[in-house]
Every structure is written in structure tokens, then in C-alpha cells.
């Protein structure tokens, strides 16, 4: 019953998208405003169908309806409630339902937000393209990846989710965040394609989709950071980023979207870079599809490929269609898109944005190439090879440092042109902060040029941000006589995009410092201890207190109790464990982390042989400096983006005065 209800919901969604496409296409062809107004309503149909399908799946999961194969494979009677609910995205078929739910949400949001302009061809085209994307995903779940497939015989109990996926509550947040980001890039894609289709390449569609892009971007950023956190807390190898293909797949659209967020400002201010921005929007969307293909079709080995299925060719075909449409439209419209603007000086904010885009595009290229290179080698020369962390580290570090440098310098650059004098005055103090930090880092024993440069540039950028805030506050204090505490929030409200952006930069600087420190100065050792014995690693004394074994039908858990002390003070007892699942080739370790602002103590139980007479265990002890600042930095990025999303007075004024853009927004139907 649930299965048929689910399939019905999917069919409803597919027909809703199909009808919407037909009505909108007809309306666009015949210039029929009524059809366009009617057509947008199908976006709500998509949302309702997606909600229904996801609700049916949740219902099936919660009621442990093992007649549905997906439930039998990803749920068991003993699965805790939280992981029963998260079962919706524990495997491929369900996660497409989540994808559809998020896409339906974005489509309905667009349809609602632009309800007054429903007869505008730009909006109609955008809705139509969104419905095409929705139709594709409905077709996926109706065809090769049907989550509502039933089993001929209902098993008494299900298999339960992959052990790795039911180890940590972060599992409840990381995938939805990632999907909110990934799918969100459909909105700028819809409008970008619509701009190309209608030939209205002005800045109108950019202003319309700016916030949606930023929302998608912040969700994706949060999703990536949460994923790294999950990896750190669950996988137990002591790191948070392994340049695994799935991680790269989430990073690729983030890189191009970040480039877009920056270059869009140039187009808004100067009307330039139209082709480039459209290309970035289309590339971002293509990369989300490519990422889904790479991780879900089983072409690449990955720790994260929890499920594989035969949707590969479908995704590849869709990617081909999207790329062909995007590239074709740009080629067709390209020369009409070229703007008359120009950049006056290489030392200006505009050219800094150009350099930023070059670096982000280069970064995306490196990550993409490294990820698909094993496939290329296999296809061209039948060689099996790997591309891993050392390659990515070596290639991305210089680009990352260059970006850090730009981040320090660019916010101080004025638009159009500047004299070297102004720049020197603005940068002198921040640059000295950076130089002295480098000296300090070297004096404190930092070894390796890249680390010292990273710390110096981080301090440079941070000091520049502080300076910018200080200058702003001082100006308000002096001119308007405000007190410092009042000036700060008013200043942010007056220009939320600038100051929100600077807060985001602060978060990125924190992350960069944490990356450099934790990757270069971690101490990692394995100690073999009998009960009561202790060892000292990087100043921390770890004492093995004993073990506790618990066994259920689903797994056997061996926990080692370990006391951590530092400088004579007791930091508490931690319990790294190993989980042994019957039928799983390797035991899965769960680390136990003592988080600190300066450094983490990361404990893993490497082995606890039951037959050892002395009861000795091997415990992995890693002391990872500054890792917590990755998560804090991620939080600061989210905070900054939230600030930037607050509607500022500047935006309201633009709406009130209705300048050039208003002319562009007038329907060209009549």
C-alpha cells in the first residue's frame, strides 16, 4: 500500500513537471500571459508530490515496513529512532527523494517570490528549466532508482543502515545541508539559462538570484564543514579531509560558486563579465550533476560510495544535455553578451576579482583533473593508478596561498583605480602584522616555508579586516557622534554585504590557519599499554584503565577507558572503541576526542586482542593542533553569510528608485 502510494506521489510529481513544462512552453511560444501564470503553479505541484513521496518513505521507515526493499536494506527493528529517520538519505534511492524535496522547495519558493512577475518570460523560462530538472529526477526514481520497489517476501527484520552511517548524530545534519547547497544551485542555473534564452542578459537576473545563490552557497559550505567534522569524529584516522572523490565532488561546485559570488559583484557594479558569470553558473550546476555521477555510479573507488546503482548512464546523459544546452546557448548568444565595460587599472578592486576568479577556476580545475585522472589513465592506457592527498596538497597549496594574499589585499583596493600611495597607506599596518607574525612563527619553531607564509598571510588578512572595521567605526564616531558600541551594528546594517563578507573572510582565515597548523604540527603515535600503564605523548599522559565489552545482535563493541592528563591536571576519561559487525570485513573504530581550543587529543583503539594474557591494548594517540578552529571558522562563515543576507538600506533604495533595472524588468510580452 505504502509502495503504491509512494509511486503514485512520484508519478504525480513527474506529470506535474511535464504538464508545467508543456503549459509554459506553449505560453512562451504563443506569448500567452495566462498560460504563463497558470504554468508556474505546477511548481507547487512538484513540491507537494515530493513532500508526499518523502513522507511515505519516512512512514515506511518508522513503521519498519520491510516489504519495501529500501526499508529492508536501510533499516532494522533495532535501529535507533534518529537513524530510522535519517534512513531517508542513507542510500541512493532515498537520497534522490531528499533531492526532490529540496528542489521542490526551491521551485515553489521561486514561483512564490516571482508571483507578481509570472507572465515575465524570464521568470517563465526559469520555471520551465527548473521543472525540466525536476522531471529528470522524478524519472530517475520512477525508473532505475525506484525507492518504493517491493520485495517478494517480507523479511522478518531489515539489514539496518551501513554501520558507518549510524555512528554519529552529525549524520542527521550533514547530508541535508549538502543537498540544500547542491540543489540550491539549480536556482541561479534556471535564471542564467532563462537570461540566455530570452536574450535579456542585463543585471536583472543576477539581482533576482543573488540571495538564492548565497543561500545555496552557505548551505554547501556548512555541509562541507559538517562532513569534515563527521569524518573526523567517526572515521577514526585522525584527519578530516582525505581528498576522496566524494569530498572533491562537494568541493567542486563550491569552488565555482565562490568564484561566481565574487565576480557577480563586478557585473553588478560595472556591467562586465556577463559571459563569464553565466559560464560559472552553468559550470556550477554541471559540477553538481558530475559530482553525483562520480559518487553514485560506482566508477570511482571511494570510502563514501555507500551505494552504487545503474543510474550512471542516466546522470551522464543528463549532464551531456545540460552542458550542451549551456555551451550552445552561450555560443549562440555569446557575442551579444559582450559588455562594453573595461578595467581601468590593474591595481583596482575589479582586477583583484578577476585574479580571484582565475585562482578559483584553477583550483576547481586541479581538483577536477585529479579526481578524473585515474579514469583517464584507465581509459587511455589501461593503467590503474591513484591520485591522492600528496598530489592535491602540492597542487592546491600555492593557489590557496595566493588566494589568501588576495584576500588580504583586495578589500583595501578601491574600485576603478588607485594610486600606490593610498594602497601603501592602507596596507602598511596589516602587512607589518603579517611580517611580524611570520617572524614570530619562525621563532616559535614553525618549519617549512608554506606554513610560515600561511600564518603571515592569515595575520595580514585578519589585520586588514580589523582595520576596515576600525576605520568604519571611527568614521561613524567622528562624523555622526555615535558611540563605538552603537556604531558597529549600524555600520553593518548600512552595508551588510561588505561587512558580512568581511566576517566570512574572517571565518576562511581561521580555517586556513587551522588547516596549516593541523596538517603540519600533529603528533601521532601508537602505544601498547597494559591495564594501569601510561604513556606520554606530546605532553599528554594517557593511562589505560581497562576495557568494557558489550555485545548486541548487531555488533560487538570493545571500549577502552583511557584517562588523559596534562600538566598534572586531569582532563577526564575517554573511551575509544572498536565495533565489530558480523559480516563486515574490518572492525570499525570509533575515536574519542578531547577537544581543546589549542589542540585536540584524538584517541583510537587500534587493537584489543581478546587472547592477550596481559590484557594489553594498542591505543592510537594523536595530538592535533587547532582542529576546533575549522568548525569555529565554519560557524563564522555561516554567521557572516547570514549578516550579508540581511536586507540592507542600499538594496531597499534600489528597489524604491527603480533605476535602469526596472526598465529591464518590464515584461516584453506586449
Amino acid at each position: 500500500m505504502k509502495a503504491s502510494l509512494g509511486v503514485f506521489a512520484l508519478a504525480l510529481g513527474a506529470s506535474s513537471s511535464l504538464l508545467g513544462i508543456a503549459v509554459l512552453a506553449r505560453g512562451l511560444r504563443r506569448r500567452d500571459a495566462h498560460a504563463l501564470v497558470l504554468g508556474r503553479r505546477f511548481a507547487f505541484g512538484v513540491l507537494i508530490a515530493a513532500i508526499l513521496a518523502a513522507a511515505v518513505m519516512e512512514w515506511a521507515l518508522l513503521s519498519h515496513d520491510f516489504s519495501i526493499r529500501y526499508v529492508a536494506e536501510n533499516n532494522a527493528r533495532g535501529t535507533p529512532l534518529l537513524f530510522t529517520v535519517t534512513g531517508l538519505w542513507a542510500a541512493l534511492e532515498g537520497s534522490i527523494l531528499l533531492w526532490l524535496l529540496v528542489l521542490g522547495g526551491y521551485l515553489a519558493f521561486v514561483a512564490h517570490k516571482f508571483r507578481a512577475r509570472a507572465s515575465d518570460p524570464l521568470v517563465a523560462w526559469a520555471t520551465l528549466i527548473g521543472l525540466v530538472v525536476a522531471l529528470f529526477f522524478f524519472a530517475l526514481v520512477l525508473g532505475p532508482a525506484n525507492p518504493f520497489k517491493t520485495l517478494p517476501v517480507t523479511p522478518a527484520d531489515g539489514r539496518g543502515p551501513n554501520p558507518l552511517l549510524q555512528n554519529h548524530p552529525l549524520m542527521a545534519f550533514h547530508p541535508p545541508m549538502l543537498y540544500l547547497g547542491y540543489v540550491g544551485f539549480t536556482v541561479p542555473f534556471m535564471f542564467g539559462m532563462a537570461a540566455l534564452a530570452t536574450g535579456r542578459f542585463g543585471e536583472g537576473w543576477l539581482a533576482d538570484t543573488r540571495r538564492a545563490t548565497l543561500v545555496a552557497w552557505v548551505f554547501l559550505s556548512a555541509g562541507i564543514v559538517l562532513g569534515a567534522w563527521w569524518s573526523y569524529e567517526v572515521l577514526g584516522w585522525g584527519g578530516y579531509w582525505a581528498w576522496d572523490p566524494v569530498e572533491n565532488a562537494s568541493l567542486l561546485p563550491w569552488l565555482t560558486a565562490t568564484a561566481f559570488i565574487h565576480s557577480v559583484i563586478v557585473q553588478e557594479r560595472r556591467g562586465m563579465l556577463r559571459v563569464w558569470n553565466l559560464s560559472l553558473v552553468i559550470a556550477t550546476f554541471c559540477l553538481t550533476i558530475l559530482g553525483t555521477f562520480l559518487t553514485r555510479s560506482g566508477v570511482i573507488n571511494s570510502v563514501h560510495s555507500f551505494t552504487e546503482s545503474d543510474i550512471g548512464p542516466w546522470l551522464l546523459a543528463f549532464l551531456g544535455v545540460v552542458a550542451a544546452a549551456g555551451i550552445g546557448l552561450i555560443a549562440w548568444r555569446g557575442d551579444a553578451l559582450r559588455a562594453a565595460g573595461k578595467i581601468d587599472s590593474p591595481i583596482s578592486r575589479e582586477s583583484a576579482f578577476l585574479a580571484n576568479n582565475l585562482l578559483f577556476a584553477g583550483l576547481a580545475f586541479v581538483v577536477l583533473l585529479g579526481t578524473v585522472y585515474p579514469l583517464l589513465a584507465e581509459a587511455l592506457q589501461s593503467r590503474r593508478l591513484s591520485v591522492g592527498e600528496p598530489y592535491f596538497d602540492r597542487m592546491t597549496t600555492p593557489i590557496g596561498l595566493a588566494l589568501l594574499f588576495l584576500m588580504a589585499v583586495a578589500p583595501a583596493l578601491p574600485w576603478r583605480t588607485t594610486s600606490g600611495d593610498v594602497l601603501r597607506r592602507r596596507l602598511l599596518v596589516p602587512a607589518w602584522a603579517g611580517g611580524l607574525t611570520m617572524l614570530l612563527a619562525a621563532a616559535l619553531g614553525a618549519r617549512g616555508i608554506t606554513d610560515v607564509i600561511a600564518f603571515g598571510l592569515a595575520a595580514f588578512a585578519l589585520a586588514g579586516i580589523v582595520r576596515q572595521f576600525a576605520v568604519g567605526i571611527r568614521a561613524r564616531r567622528d562624523v555622526q557622534g555615535e558611540r563605538t558600541l552603537d556604531a558597529l551594528p549600524r555600520m553593518i546594517r548600512a552595508n551588510p554585504r561588505l561587512y558580512g563578507g568581511l566576517v566570512v573572510h574572517t571565518g576562511i582565515v581561521l580555517i586556513a590557519v587551522a588547516l596549516a597548523a593541523s596538517s603540519s604540527y600533529a603528533t601521532k603515535r601508537e602505544v601498547r599499554l597494559a591495564r594501569g600503564e601510561s604513556a606520554v605523548v606530546a605532553g599528554y599522559r594517557v593511562t589505560y584503565l581497562g576495557r568494557a565489552v558489550s555485545a548486541t545482535e548487531q555488533k560487538r563493541v570493545v571500549k577502552a577507558r583511557v584517562r588523559i592528563e596534562h600538566g598534572g591536571s586531569d582532563l577526564g576519561v575517554y573511551a575509544p572503541s572498536v565495533n565489530i559487525f558480523p559480516g563486515s570485513p574490518n572492525a570499525i573504530g570509533t575515536p574519542s576526542v578531547r577537544t581543546g581550543l589549542r589542540e585536540d587529543v584524538y584517541l583510537t583503539l587500534v587493537s584489543a586482542p581478546s587472547g592477550d594474557a596481559a590484557g594489553r591494548v594498542t591505543i592510537g594517540v594523536a595530538v592535533n593542533p587547532m582542529v576546533v578552529w575549522l568548525w569555529i571558522g565554519g560557524g563564522v562563515v555561516v554567521l557572516g553569510t547570514a549578516l550579508a543576507l540581511v536586507p540592507g538600506p542600499r538594496r531597499r533604495r534600489v528597489v524604491a528608485e527603480l533605476p535602469v533595472e526596472a526598465r529591464e524588468r518590464e515584461p516584453v510580452l506586449a
Binding site: 578577476l354 580545475f365 593508478l385 591520485v387 607589518w432 611570520m438 617572524l439 607564509i453
Partner: protein, 152 residues
């Protein structure tokens, strides 16, 4: 504004860099083993290096690397030994020869060409006027001039 503070800053940065990069004697066998372990893929786990993994193979390989370095073997010899045994995919850094030129060289090429293109465009923009007069503009000007001449 005087340039002296900037010159001094350059000196500070140079000192810091030299300090940080100053070699502290040769690397020990243990350090070399650790560095090479980070370049080898752990054979019985996915996506992790030997240095990061704690499986039995990773343990064995780390011990083996240490022993080999103490016996005076070179990095390249050991790499080759492992490729012979486990295949090329044991290396996390793809080899640079042949097709490897693609993966190591192409990103550099892309960035260099991109930067060059950008520099060229900036130079052209600096020389060119912001907008060229179209034919319509020129006609307009010509007509205005003509009218002026015609005017009494």
C-alpha cells in the same frame, strides 16, 4: 609616503623565511619513512595513505619502510619495489612521465595561460578608450558639424 617601512618589512619577511627554511641537519630514517608512508596508498583500506591508516598492512609497511631506510635504500628504489608488488595504484602521487604530464602540467599551463590572458586584456583595456564610436555616432557628429557650418 616613505618607502622605508616597506623595505624594512621585506627584510623581516626574508629573515622569517630563511629562518623557517633553515635545514636542521639531514632527515632521519624515521622522518623519511614517515614522509614516504604518506605517499603510499594503504592496500587494505580505501582512500587513505599508509601514514594515516592503522590496519595491519599499514603497520607492516611502515615497519618495512623504516627497515629499508635504515638499510640505506633510496626513496626511488623503495617506491619501485612497492609498485612491483602492488601495482602502480599504490602511489598516491601519480608518476610524472607519459600521461602524467597531463595531471602535473596541465593545471600549471591553465593558470599561466589564464594569467597571461588576463594581463594582456588589462593592458589592452588600458590603451583602448572605454568605448569606440559607432558609425551612428560618427554620422551624428558629422551631421551636427554640417549643421553648424550651414548655420549662419
Amino acid at each position: 609616503m616613505s618607502k622605508a617601512p616597506w623595505v624594512l618589512l621585506a627584510v623581516v619577511v626574508a629573515v622569517a623565511l630563511v629562518w623557517a627554511a633553515w635545514p636542521e641537519g639531514g632527515r632521519s630514517a624515521r622522518e623519511r619513512a614517515r614522509d614516504l608512508a604518506a605517499e603510499l596508498r594503504c592496500p587494505d583500506c580505501e582512500g587513505l595513505s599508509v601514514a594515516d591508516s592503522s590496519t595491519s598492512s599499514a603497520h607492516a609497511i611502515r615497519a618495512d619502510l623504516l627497515r629499508r631506510f635504515r638499510d640505506g635504500e633510496s626513496d626511488d628504489d623503495i617506491r619501485q619495489e612497492y609498485v612491483d608488488r602492488f601495482g602502480e595504484s599504490i602511489l598516491l602521487n601519480p608518476e610524472g612521465g607519459g600521461l602524467g604530464v597531463l595531471v602535473w602540467g596541465l593545471p600549471v599551463l591553465v593558470l599561466v595561460v589564464g594569467a597571461g590572458g588576463l594581463a594582456l586584456a588589462l593592458r589592452r583595456w588600458r590603451r583602448e578608450p572605454a568605448m569606440r564610436a559607432t558609425r551612428a555616432d560618427e554620422e551624428l557628429v558629422a551631421r551636427a558639424r554640417a549643421e553648424r557650418v550651414d548655420a549662419p
